[in-house]
């Protein structure tokens, strides 16, 4: 069997997820030994139009990026969205909460009208093209990433949790942060990070995106039980949840 050709592309993001791949250390050699990396701007100068697996990092924020990701999609057999920017739009979606002209002016000042600085509503990759697999998180979890790649190499479907962060949080024996006044999004956010934040005493802010069927009614009840308002909850959902799922309901 010839090695699958992999190409890695970035759109609007901080490239932190690619950095996680670079930082795989000894596993990086395993990865590079098992696949043929044909394009990866962050790590090499070659470019290629022929690849089997495209890994796309970042969110889609401009019309020309939509065209670019469509071309990538048409060339790849498998497309993987890498990191929260790509899977759910990530922090880039914050701007969708404001008027776009205001956003531009705030960021670029007088240059805001320049054509190359044009911007559109932020989209997750799957709002533009079909995505086969998602590596969730901001940043991604290195172990989960290599697990997914190994599954693909074996032709096996990776098992990505459909359940919320609370499962992993409780398995670790953490006391629930709600009891200590924190608005933790754990019950509606997809697990897989090992409840990274609550295990260090910080509420989950939702970087892995919502579970498939988040129960927003339940969240509203809980908010009331703890004497908070819906606005308190929304304020916490906005960082990673802007214009997706139940945030704007």
């Amino acid at each position: 069997m010839s090695k699958p050709r992999i190409a890695i592309f970035d759109f609007a993001c901080c490239e932190g997820c690619q950095l996680q791949i670079v930082n795989l250390e000894e596993e990086l050699l395993d990865l590079i030994g098992a696949v043929d990396v044909v394009e990866w701007r962050e790590a090499m100068s070659e470019q290629s139009h022929e690849y089997d697996i495209a890994i796309v990092e970042g969110s889609i924020t401009r019309p020309e990026d939509e065209d670019r990701v469509e071309i990538i999609r048409s060339r790849a057999k498998i497309l993987i969205a890498l990191g929260a920017c790509a899977t759910i739009g990530g922090v880039n979606k914050l701007k969708n909460n404001f008027d776009l002209d205001d956003v531009k002016e705030c960021v670029y000042g007088d240059d805001a009208k320049m054509p190359h600085l044009d911007t559109a509503m932020t989209k997750a990759v799957d709002e533009v093209v079909e995505v086969d697999y998602k590596v969730h998180g901001c940043p991604i979890d290195r172990k989960e990433f290599t697990y997914i790649v190994r599954c693909l190499l074996l032709g096996k479907k990776p098992e990505i949790p459909e359940w919320p962060v609370c499962v992993e949080c409780k398995a670790k024996g953490n006391p629930c942060l709600w009891e200590y006044g924190q608005v933790c999004l754990g019950p509606i956010i997809r697990a897989g990070c090992g409840a990274r934040c609550p295990s260090s005493g910080f509420r989950c802010f939702g970087c892995r995106g919502y579970v498939d069927e988040p129960n927003v009614n339940a969240a509203k009840d809980v908010i009331e039980k703890y004497g908070l308002s819906i606005e308190d909850l929304k304020g916490k959902m906005i960082l990673f949840g802007s214009t997706q799922g139940p945030t704007n309901e």
């Binding site: 030994g33 190499l153 359940w163 409780k170 024996g173 019950p187 129960n215 339940a218 009840d221 809980v222």
Partner: protein, 344 residues
């Protein structure tokens, strides 16, 4: 085996000896709560705790464990954890839960991974001193325990009553400085146990626990399942903290050589989306209401049918505290059914 009395100072000394020689896990404080953890100093042991965050099942069925390592086309090798350990401070209701899981893991497929850990454990139980905010063990008749443990400790004020129930327990206890318990001491113990059998009742069951399986006979289509599940997160917290839940999920991970790897099992839970997925991806308890019902049917009907009547809820109250929308309390559901079905 004679029942002994051990002063609190002598107990601390004995536990201190133990932790210096053996692998010991015991109840300690964790912030303003308590949990089991590796015990390194006798001073950290808190036998006056109310309830632990996690039940002790993790010492027999860890959240994740490797069952075997394999090499494709060469075979596999089972992995066992067979290091002896001592577990100190198990409350009676949790001991009864362990006894139940023992029974279930012996039936049908004998689970050697679980049993290896179990047979390497020496369990020291202790009667409850402080009731937790949601405990209802008295209602489930699990406030005191008669078997399964190696040693049972009861705090009678200045001393503990210590009763060894097995040879392992006897051998361990013989290392402590003890005296024979007097009639008076035993009376004190009996009073504490009798009180616990009444007072660990923060939630009151309206019927006898033995009536529960019968009650569920006629409750399959009751609206309570839909009502409760309407605010369920499917977060599995109620399963994760429950001492009698033991569902797991098995997963293989192959290494980069694409040949060798390991098979692991991890806790699962009947409340999770994705649980009960059968081949073909058809989720036969898709609806959360169905899964909510399954959890309570399992506790009060399926398990008792398998192990001779015992209900698989020991009234520890952990799910009540852990459920954010406050719907997991089994007593509320059973009472609701009792009101509607039995009074008709």
């Amino acid at each position: 085996m004679a029942v002994k009395k051990i002063t609190k100072a002598a107990l601390t000394e004995w536990v201190g000896e133990l932790v210096s020689k053996e692998r010991v896990f015991g109840v300690q404080s964790k912030g303003d709560k308590f949990d089991f953890g590796p015990l390194t100093s006798a001073q950290d042991l808190r036998l006056d705790y109310d309830v632990t965050l996690q039940p002790p099942k993790k010492y027999f069925l860890p959240p994740v464990e490797t069952l075997l390592t394999f090499e494709v086309s060469a075979g596999y090798e089972s992995q066992y954890s067979d290091k002896p350990f001592v577990l100190i401070g198990v409350h009676p209701y949790d001991m009864i839960a362990i006894n139940q899981i023992d029974e279930l893991f012996k039936q049908g497929y004998y689970d050697t991974h679980y049993m290896t850990r179990r047979s390497n454990a020496t369990i020291i139980t202790c009667d409850v001193v402080n009731a937790s905010e949601n405990v209802f063990a008295s209602q489930m008749k699990t406030a005191t325990v008669k078997d399964g443990f190696d040693i049972l400790l009861t705090d009678i004020g200045d001393s503990y009553i210590a009763e060894a129930a097995t040879e392992k327990g006897e051998a361990l206890l013989s290392k402590a400085e003890t005296a024979d318990a007097s009639k008076d001491d035993l009376d004190k113990r009996e009073k504490i146990q009798k009180d616990n059998e009444k007072n660990l009742s923060k939630h009151q069951l309206k019927c006898e626990v033995a009536e529960l399986p019968g009650l569920l006979e006629n409750a399959y289509n009751h609206p309570v399942w839909e009502e409760k599940a309407a605010t369920c997160f499917a977060c599995g917290s109620c399963n994760q903290v429950c001492p009698t839940c033991y569902c797991f999920n098995v997963q293989d991970d192959v290494k980069w050589d694409m040949k060798t790897g390991q098979r692991c099992r991890a806790w699962d839970g009947c409340m999770l989306d994705g649980f009960a997925m059968v081949a073909g991806g058809h989720d036969f308890r898709k609806k959360r209401a169905d899964r909510f019902r399954h959890r309570l049917y399992r506790k009060a009907k399926y398990v008792p049918e398998k192990i001779g009547g015992q209900i698989a809820c020991v009234g520890c109250g952990r799910c009540v505290s852990a459920c954010l929308p406050d719907i997991a309390n089994p007593v509320n559901v059973y009472n609701r059914l009792f009101d509607d079905i039995k009074t008709k």
